[in-house]
Amino acid sequence: MQDLITALARLLVSEPDAVRVTASELGRDTLLELTVAPEDVGRIIGRQGRTIRSLRTVLAAASRDSERGCQLEVLDRDES
């Protein structure tokens, strides 16, 4: 799932080299945290959050057979 989100995020952004995805456990789920260049945060989220919502839909479908659910969050550089 990490590879899927990394690959899709790299296609979406203007600075693919800045894309990082880390995976950690969050209860019974896997939490994927996506970091992109500050100027790409808007692109990843999209108008009215449509792009990040689409990524979450793809992620949910891709992890349908896995025992663990997958959650996706975009990290703001300042928070990390």
């Binding site: 899927l4 792009t51 689409s54 793809v58 891709a62």
Partner: protein, 174 residues
């Protein structure tokens, strides 16, 4: 207008299917240049098939619409260019257009008969456009959109609102 970057689109689709382990195949159906573009006649139609087709079509085609949105973003297509590239599977999108047109005609007939406005449920801009276009030539009504964001919906209004007396008679008859 720049041509669609088909190589980039293939890269996206191949990545998506491989990394997401989706059992799907796709084919490109290109339309000749110079024809009028709209939702039913896109420049490029990506047609999916395969074992996971039901997954793509579940929840009103949620995954199909999500992947199409990602493709629009990756290809940097502005909102006025979305009709150039459409994703479909088992003809779902085209059937939905027929469904919307039928709903539009029925609603318009009702507005003409009762003289009362009719509001549709919330729809995407593309679906709202199908309704507007379907009723473009219908006499005696006008269509508009109301509400913001995900609540935006089409309203059909009569050009001549029902007179109060006629409205009362109509309500009794209904």
């Amino acid at each position: 207008m720049k041509p669609l970057d088909e190589a980039l689109l293939r890269q996206f689709l191949d990545t998506l299917l491989r990394e997401g382990h989706f059992r799907l195949t796709y084919r490109f159906l290109a339309r000749p240049a110079g024809e009028a573009r709209d939702f039913e006649n896109p420049e490029l139609l990506v047609d999916f098939d395969g074992e996971d087709a039901p997954l793509l079509l579940a929840n009103g085609g949620e995954l199909l619409r999500a992947t199409e949105h990602l493709a629009h973003e990756i290809l940097r297509l502005g909102s006025d260019e979305h009709e150039r590239l459409v994703f479909d599977c088992h003809n779902r999108r085209m059937l939905r257009v027929d469904e919307l047109r039928t709903a539009a005609e029925l609603a318009a007939q009702r507005v003409l008969k009762t003289g009362l406005p009719y509001a549709f449920g919330p729809m995407s801009s593309r679906e709202r456009r199908v309704i507007h276009m379907a009723l473009r030539g219908t006499q005696g009504i006008q269509t508009g959109s109301q509400g913001v964001g995900p609540q935006r919906h089409v309203v059909i209004e009569p050009l001549q609102p029902a007179r109060p007396a006629a409205r009362r008679r109509e309500i009794r008859r209904l």
